[in-house]
Amino acid sequence: MHSAAIDPPGIGWQRVSPKYVTVRLVEWAVGNLLFVAVLSLPLVFVLLGGWLWPPLWLAVTVPAAMFVLALWRLVLIPRQVRAIGYAERNDDLLIRRGIFFQRTMVVPYGRMQYVDVAVGPVERALGLCTLKLHTASPGTNALLPGLPAAEGARLREQLTARGEARLAGL
C-alpha cells in the first residue's frame, strides 16, 4: 500500500477493489475521449477543406495536447485507485486518497448524520458500490468509491451502528 508522509503513523489501510480501475477507465473514456474527439472536429473540417480557419498546425496541436493530457490521466488511474484507502478505528473512520494532491480525512462516528450507498451502471456490472458519509458540515466530502457490494453493505451497517452508539449532537 502506498503510504505517504501525511498519513498518521501505524495505520493499516484497507484498499478498495482493483476492479474499480475499470470503472475509472470507463469514466475516463467517456470524458476524455469524447472531449478529444470534439476538439478534433476542426482538424477534420480543415482537412476536408471546408474551413480556412484555424490553421492546420493549431488544429493539430490542440487535440494532440489534450490527447497527451488524457493519456497522462490514463496512466495515473491505477496508481490513484491504489492510493484510495480507508481504516476503521475505534472512534473514527480514516479515508485517504490522491498521489500528487493527497488528502487524509477523519470522520468521527458520532458526527455522522447518515450514510449513502450509491451504485452506477458500470459499478453494478462489476459488483461494486460507492459509500458516502455525511456530517453536519457541507465540507465533509467523504467519498469511498470502488467497494465490493458486500463490503459496502457491511461498512454501512457497521458505521450506522457505531454512529448510533456514539451519537453526539452538533
Binding site: 501525511i6 472512534d91 494532491f101 480525512m105 468521527p108 458540515s137 449532537g169 452538533l170
Partner: protein, 520 residues
C-alpha cells in the same frame, strides 16, 4: 438509514381527522399580520386600479364622467374583485396558521388547500431571532424565527406576533429547551431570563468602521481612477456614468449602517443576545454551545484604530450569502481588543489556558511562536514570504486557534467538541517544502477553518491529537438541555454572574453558569 438529528419533519395532515376547533394549546398569529406582510401587494392593487380616479380627483374633474364608459367600470370592478380575493386569501391564510408549544415540540400548521404541519424539537434549537421590520415595528408586531440545524430556511417562522407575546414565547421556548421548565401544557408563563448588557458599539465607531472598511478602500481607488480618466480624456461625461455606482454604494453603506446601528451584546442564561438595527430591528438569541466556529478579522485600515470584527458559524443560520445573513452571523461588527476579549469570554467561558489574555493577544497581533503558537517552518518561507511568521496554530484545553494573514489578520477559533471532521491535504509544492494543510470541517457559514502550511510532522500530530481531543470533549458534553445539565451538576441557573473578562488574573477559568460541567 438516516439516523439522529431529524429536526424537522413534515407530516401530511389527515384533513378528516376529528379535532376540537381550537384546542387548548393552539394559538394564532396576530390578525393584522397578513396585511403587514402583504401590504405591497395591496398597495399595488389599489394604485394600479385606483390611479385613474385619483388623478381625476387631483385635477378637480368629476370622478365619473357622463356616459360612463365601460372601460372604467370594468377596471373598477376588476380592481375591487382582485382586492377582495387578496384580502380573503390573507384572512384565510391567517385563520389556518396556528402554532402550538407542547411536549418538547413546537408545531405550526399552515395552509388551507395544501396543508402543512411542521414540528421541530425544542432542544434542537440553534438560535431564536425576533425581527421587526419598520412597518411591523409601527404596529408593535414582531416576527419570531426558530432555527434548527438545517442551514436552509428557518424551521419555524411566526409572523407576526405582538412584541410582548413574541418575547414571552421566546422565553418559554428557551426555558423548555434549556430544561429548566417543566414541560406541561399551558403552565404559568416563563419569566424572561435576566440579561446583562456586555458591550455596545457607539455610533461614531460604526461610522468610522464603515469609512475605513475594505469597501471604502476600493471606492477611493475607483474615484482616483475616474478622475484621472476624465482628466486624460478631457470629458466630464465620466461623472454621469458614475451616478449609478454612487447610488449603489450609498445603498450599500446605508444597509450596513442600518443593520449595524445600536449594536448591543448581552449575556443571559438563555445564551448570547444580540440586538441591532435602525429602522428594522433584530434581536438574536444564540443559546450556549451553539456557536460552531468563530473568526476574528482585521482589515488593514482598521489596524490604525485597533479594531476587529467577529463572525461566527451557527448551524441554523447557514451559509447563504446576503446582507441579512451577513448581519446575523456577525457577533461583533466592530470593537477594540477589550471588547473582543469580552466576546470571546461569552463564546468560550473556559478558555482552557491559564493565561488567556496573553494567548489571544498573540493570536490577534502576534508573530512567530510567542505564547506557544507553532508557525509555518522557516524552510517554507519561499511559498509564504509574508505569512510564514504569522500562520500558526495553538490548541488550548477547550479550543483550537488558527492564526493567519499578515495584512488581513485573521484568527479562527473552533471549540474541540464542535469539530465535525478533519482532512489533511498536501499538494506537490507543499510536499517539496515539507508542509501540509489541515482543514477542519464545520457547519456552513462565514468561517472556514484551515491551518495553512504547517510542518508535516506537526500537522499529522495535530490531526491525531485533535481527533482525540474532539472525542474527549464530546464525551463530556452529554445533553442539549444546557441548564438542566447545570442543575444536575449542582450549580443553579438562577445565579447569573457577569462573565469574568478573560484577563482576570486570579481565576484562570472564569466560572459562569454557561460553563459545561467538567465531570458530569
Amino acid at each position: 438509514m438516516k439516523h439522529g438529528w431529524q429536526v424537522c419533519e413534515r407530516v401530511s395532515v389527515d384533513v378528516n381527522r376529528e379535532r376540537p376547533a381550537v384546542d387548548a394549546g393552539w394559538h394564532r398569529v396576530h390578525p393584522a399580520s397578513p396585511f403587514v406582510r402583504g401590504w405591497v401587494a395591496l398597495a399595488a392593487v389599489v394604485v394600479f386600479f385606483g390611479r385613474d380616479i385619483f388623478e381625476r380627483a387631483l385635477q378637480g374633474r368629476e370622478l365619473l364622467e357622463e356616459g360612463l364608459n365601460g372601460r372604467i367600470l370594468w377596471l373598477l370592478a376588476g380592481g375591487a374583485a382582485l382586492l377582495l380575493v387578496t384580502v380573503a386569501g390573507f384572512v384565510l391564510s391567517w385563520y389556518f396558521t396556528r402554532y402550538q408549544l407542547s411536549e418538547g415540540y413546537v408545531r405550526v400548521n399552515t395552509g388551507f388547500l395544501f396543508k402543512q404541519q411542521r414540528q421541530a424539537r425544542l432542544d434542537r434549537v440553534q438560535a431564536i431571532d425576533i425581527v421587526q421590520p419598520l412597518l411591523a415595528r409601527i404596529f408593535g408586531l414582531a416576527e419570531l424565527k426558530f432555527e434548527v440545524a438545517d442551514a436552509g430556511e428557518s424551521a419555524v417562522r411566526l409572523a407576526y406576533l405582538p412584541i410582548g407575546q413574541a418575547k414571552q414565547l421566546r422565553a418559554t421556548i428557551l426555558g423548555r429547551a434549556a430544561g429548566v421548565v417543566a414541560d406541561g401544557g399551558e403552565t404559568a408563563p416563563v419569566p424572561e431570563a435576566p440579561e446583562q448588557v456586555v458591550l455596545s458599539v457607539p455610533h461614531g465607531r460604526l461610522v468610522g468602521s464603515l469609512l475605513l472598511s475594505e469597501q471604502s478602500f476600493f471606492v477611493v481607488l475607483g474615484a482616483i481612477a475616474s478622475v484621472v480618466f476624465s482628466v486624460l480624456t478631457e470629458s466630464g461625461a465620466v461623472i454621469l456614468y458614475l451616478i449609478p455606482a454612487i447610488l449603489g454604494l450609498g445603498a450599500a453603506y446605508w444597509k450596513s449602517f442600518n443593520k449595524g446601528f445600536n449594536f448591543t451584546a448581552a449575556i443571559s442564561p438563555d445564551g448570547i443576545r444580540l440586538r441591532y438595527g435602525l429602522l428594522d430591528t433584530q434581536a438574536q438569541t444564540v443559546p450556549p454551545g451553539r456557536i460552531q466556529a468563530l473568526k476574528i478579522t482585521q482589515p488593514p485600515l482598521w489596524r490604525i484604530l485597533g479594531w476587529y470584527r467577529i463572525q461566527v458559524n451557527v448551524a441554523g443560520y447557514g451559509g447563504a450569502p446576503g446582507n441579512e445573513n451577513a448581519a446575523r452571523t456577525t457577533l461583533l461588527p466592530v470593537g477594540g481588543l477589550g471588547e473582543v476579549m469580552q466576546t470571546l469570554a461569552l463564546v468560550l467561558p473556559d478558555p482552557g489556558t491559564p493565561e488567556p489574555h496573553r494567548v489571544f493577544t498573540a493570536a490577534l497581533n502576534g508573530l512567530d511562536s510567542d505564547a506557544g503558537f507553532t508557525t509555518t517552518p522557516r524552510r517554507a518561507r519561499l511559498i509564504a514570504p509574508l505569512g510564514w511568521r504569522r500562520n500558526a496554530f495553538l490548541s488550548t484545553g477547550t479550543a483550537l486557534l488558527l492564526r493567519s494573514g499578515r495584512w488581513w489578520r485573521q484568527v479562527v477559533l473552533v471549540p474541540h467538541q464542535r469539530t465535525q471532521s478533519m482532512a489533511l491535504t498536501q499538494g506537490p509544492v507543499a510536499r517539496r517544502f515539507g508542509v501540509a494543510d489541515l482543514v477542519l470541517h464545520t457547519t456552513a457559514g462565514p468561517v472556514v477553518p484551515r491551518l495553512i502550511q504547517a510542518d508535516v510532522g506537526e500537522a499529522v500530530a495535530l490531526f491525531d491529537q485533535q481527533a482525540a481531543r474532539a472525542r474527549e470533549a464530546r464525551k463530556r458534553q452529554t445533553s442539549e438541555q444546557w441548564l438542566a445539565e447545570l442543575s444536575r451538576a449542582g450549580s443553579l441557573p438562577v445565579r447569573l454572574q457577569p462573565p469574568a473578562p478573560l484577563q482576570a488574573p486570579a481565576d484562570p477559568t472564569p466560572t459562569t453558569p454557561q460553563e459545561e460541567p467538567r465531570h458530569g
